[in-house]
């Protein structure tokens, strides 16, 4: 005789019943019944630590998935998971944030998934505890003070499970006028639910002895902060992964950049129907370039373009020969250019100490709204 146990975990969010200063990296499984913590699928073992099982799920949702050949992108919709808090309000202490939550600022333009050294800035000395950047939990293993209110941290990535991913500034999300320290990513001690933590919905099949036999899994993303309901309950909204993927927006209106004073046109083809720039160059300020590519080119708190970041962007922009970045210029007419080069240009202003930087895009004409083309491309 087999039986089934439902399990729900939020990848990257810790255990509400553990001391925040000495948490284990275990994935927390909220279940609706007893479940052995051993013998479960290895995907639930995080940093060599088996999952922690907390049987506090009350009520079970149904999970739909529907598609058809005429509506081929299936939808799983949004469901609600209900958890039961204890009389100490531990769930609320973990889930609920407030404006007074202590935070620091991430002082890196970018952190790769394997990066374990980060610089942060804040008003207080960091505690050796778990913290959150985006939808990933980190654990502070140690730090050095580099200067006032700035620390270099050694961290463990992907602490409560969940994938370690690139963490970088998103210039498209800058507030208007923000170009300096305010660009930083916030590091918080509690989960910032705006960042969409991934979660898993498991159904474990157990044998007559209660041992794990098999399971099925659906994944989703937690939407918003868990909501207290008729104490002691918390409702957690989950949007299924296929919906999260499908709703992703390709392109953002903020990537349309209105240039200030720029020069374009280098090599011009003068034909019977007019003069068309075959090769053009475009100067972008740091802010314009960052907005245009949605890539950070500077360190928070500074304004200088970092050449290695430009090199890195260029490498990534042209790494795949099957992907061609283009630029659309609209000045009444429409011009389509291939981006053929990206370069950091630095030159001196009127004084030797006043360097000016810009990003130069070299462009090759593809077509023009009046019909000009190169190489027969249309």
């Amino acid at each position: 005789m087999t039986r089934a146990v439902f399990g729900f975990c939020i990848y990257g969010v810790g255990n509400p019943y553990e001391d925040p200063f000495s948490p284990t990296p275990a994935i927390v499984l909220y279940t609706n019944g007893e479940l052995p913590s051993t013998g479960l699928p290895t995907e639930l073992t995080n940093l060599s630590t088996p999952p922690t099982v907390l049987p506090i799920v009350s009520g079970l949702p149904g999970v739909n998935f529907g598609a058809s050949p005429r509506n081929p992108v299936g939808s799983g919709g949004t469901i609600t998971i209900r958890l039961t808090d204890d009389d100490q309000g531990k769930l609320g202490q973990l889930f609920l944030t407030d404006d007074d939550s202590e935070f620091w600022q991430f002082q890196e333009a970018k952190l790769t998934p394997t990066g374990t050294s980060i610089k942060m800035k804040g008003v207080s000395q960091p505690d050796q505890q778990a913290f959150y950047i985006g939808n990933e939990a980190f654990f502070l293993e140690g730090y050095n003070s580099s200067n006032t209110q700035t620390w270099d941290l050694d961290v463990t990535r992907g602490y409560f499970g969940g994938p370690a991913q690139v963490r970088m500034l998103a210039p498209r999300d800058y507030s208007p006028g923000e170009t300096g320290s305010g660009d930083a990513i916030l590091i918080t001690k509690k989960p910032n639910w705006d960042n969409g933590f991934y979660c898993g919905l498991y159904l474990f099949i157990l044998d007559q002895d209660g041992a794990y036999v098999s399971h099925i899994l659906r994944r989703g993303v937690v939407i918003g902060e868990p909501t207290p309901k008729e104490r002691p309950y918390y409702d957690i909204q989950v949007k299924m992964l296929e919906d999260t993927l499908a709703d992703h927006q390709i392109g953002e209106s903020s990537r349309v950049v209105s240039l200030s004073k720029k020069i374009i046109a280098e090599s011009v083809d003068v034909g019977s129907d007019g003069a068309y720039p075959l090769i053009a160059s475009l100067r972008l300020t740091r802010e314009e370039a960052e907005t245009f590519f949605n890539e950070p080119l500077h360190t928070p708190g500074q304004t200088v373009i970092i050449s290695t970041l430009v090199d890195d962007l260029k490498d990534r922009l042209f790494q795949d020969p099957d992907i061609h970045p283009q630029i659309v210029i609209e000045d009444g007419d429409t011009w389509i250019y291939d981006i053929v080069n990206l370069q950091l240009i630095t030159y001196a202003g009127n004084t030797n100490n006043n360097y000016i930087q810009f990003i130069k895009l070299t462009l090759s004409l593809v077509t023009h709204s009046e019909g000009a083309t190169i190489g027969g491309t249309s």
Partner: protein, 518 residues
């Protein structure tokens, strides 16, 4: 512009203030090089003087991605910053253009050693990539937000794919036009009453292709309307954008994989407002069977109401999965699978042998007697040899012909939902009155009562003499199957003595003669 004179314009433009040095290494010592003055120079007037007062232009980024649908899907799904940290080659778009879904959440897998060994029903995306259509150029205008859903839905429609989650939680693409072997037999929970759900019918495919290089809008349009169908409502029409250019689209051989196949598949599956059936299985059965979305299954229910009468049995595929954890059941949504049956191994759309119905000899509540002429047959019809003895086999072996006319009324002028003609069977057995009269074949056609809703009282309920044709699909050889994009390379050869007759309303002959326009 060919032959235009190319002149270097830098000298005129870069004329006064500042000096430029190349290099990416931060502030540098200014060097002696070109100087420039600022100001927007409208490209069309590049030969004119710099106009610093001109309004600055707006610029936006866009990408042309030249990949297959599967590669494009993966690129858009997993890209975060383009650094391709995992080395899989899919995180190659910068700036958060991709959805940033962790690769471990997607059933990417590995390519097979040989594309020929890939089964068409694979759920491994890298395997699927090996047998999908070649690369297309997908232009993405990043200046305006486009939901990935819209792009994916279109590409899935064009490539006959579905996107959904597997039992292991990973998302994948799944082709629904390939044969499953073996299929899974469902064991529904006891006592459930299955109530069919009607899907909207499909009467027209609107295809667009090519794209304007300026604004990326489609350049060409082609509408395929079932012949004899008029007054197509929006919900009865399906838009599909093909990312192929107009020249390719105009070439029959190149367009065939897209257009002919698409039309055949969609006509076959959705031409007659098909039903989907909600069927419940136990959670345990669902898990142990391994059935997942998109899978082909067999299912039968003697009590379900269908357009053909009471009871249903056959091949279906799963288009919906509803996990009811508390009840311990899984509600599956099944769509009758008219593509993966053996009969579908024959290619519709080819010029086929067929019968025309010359005369209705007699009719009663269940039986109809017809005179048929073999289309294109100039000599006496030989049932034992013509068409590989197809007719003779059907008669002597008691096989059945299948009529699939998707609820279209025989007159062809309008559609009658739920028509008795939907999916009924014609039975030829050893007792038929059968004889040849020149090129004519007279057969007794029996329509079993269970397969229609009411008595047949008029010949026009079924056929219009002189107009209605019975079209036999072309039988495919194994080699032909290999060349077919509809049939997976390792599909079974059509067994002798089985096949479809597609009864098409007059003017609705669906072969290589398409209807153009709306």
């Amino acid at each position: 512009m060919a032959g235009g004179k190319v002149i270097k314009f830098l000298k005129d433009l870069f004329s006064s203030t500042g000096s430029i040095t190349g290099g990416n290494n931060g502030p540098q010592t200014p060097g002696a090089s070109m100087t420039f003055k600022e100001g927007w120079v409208p490209p069309a007037r590049a030969g004119e003087a710099v106009n610093p007062e001109a309004d600055p232009p707006k610029i936006k980024l866009r990408y042309n991605i030249h990949k297959s649908i599967a590669d494009t899907f993966l690129t858009l799904a997993v890209s975060t910053d383009g650094s391709d940290t995992s080395g899989s080659g899919y995180d190659v778009l910068v700036g958060g253009i991709g959805a940033g879904i962790p690769e471990s959440f997607i059933n990417i897998g590995s390519p097979a050693g040989s594309a020929l060994s890939v089964l068409g029903n694979t759920k491994v995306i890298k395997e699927l990539n090996q047998i999908l259509n070649p690369k297309h150029t997908y232009p993405f205008d990043l200046g305006s937000s486009v939901a990935l859903k819209d792009f994916l839905a279109n590409e899935c429609l064009a490539a006959q794919l579905m996107l959904g989650p597997l039992q292991n939680g990973k998302l994948t693409l799944k082709s629904w036009v390939h044969e499953e072997s073996p299929t899974i037999t469902l064991n529904p929970v006891n006592g459930q009453t299955v109530t069919p759900i009607r899907l909207p019918t499909l009467k027209r495919l609107n295809m667009t292709f090519g794209y304007n290089p300026i604004d990326l809008s489609p350049q060409f349009q082609r509408a395929f309307r079932w012949l004899g169908v008029s007054n197509v409502k929006p919900e009865q029409s399906q838009d599909i954008r093909l990312y192929i250019d107009g020249v390719t689209a105009a070439q029959t051989t190149e367009s065939s994989p897209y257009m002919e196949k698409l039309i055949r598949v969609y006509y076959k599956m959705f031409g007659g407002a098909p039903f989907v059936y909600p069927v419940s299985v136990s959670m345990e059965d669902y898990i142990t069977s391994g059935a997942e979305f998109g899978d082909a299954v067999t299912w039968s229910d003697p009590s379900v109401v269908t357009p053909s009468g009471i009871g249903i049995s056959g091949a279906f595929f799963i288009v919906g999965v509803d996990l009811q954890y508390e009840a311990g059941i899984v509600n599956l949504l099944l769509l009758e699978n008219k593509l993966t049956s053996q009969a579908q191994n024959q290619q519709q759309g080819f010029i086929s042998p067929g019968f025309s119905i010359d005369k209705v000899i007699d009719i009663d509540s269940t039986d109809v007697y017809l005179d048929l002429s073999a289309i294109g047959q100039t000599s006496a019809f030989d049932p034992a040899n013509d068409w590989d003895g197809f007719i003779d086999d059907m008669i002597t072996k008691g096989e059945k012909f299948q009529i699939d006319n998707y609820d279209q009324a025989p007159s062809g002028s309008k559609e009658i939902p739920g028509s008795i003609l939907a999916h009924c069977q014609i039975v030829l057995d050893g007792t038929v009155r059968y004889k040849t009269i020149g090129s004519r074949v007279r057969v007794r056609v029996r329509v079993p009562a269970a397969y229609h809703r009411g008595p047949i009282t008029r010949a026009s309920d079924l056929f219009i003499p002189g107009e209605t044709n019975l079209v036999l699909p072309t039988l495919q050889t194994a080699d032909q199957n290999l060349n077919s994009t509809l049939i997976e390379p390792n599909s079974n050869v059509l067994p002798s003595g089985q096949g479809f007759i597609n009864l098409q309303p007059p003017r609705a002959y669906f072969g290589t003669n398409f209807s153009f326009g709306t």
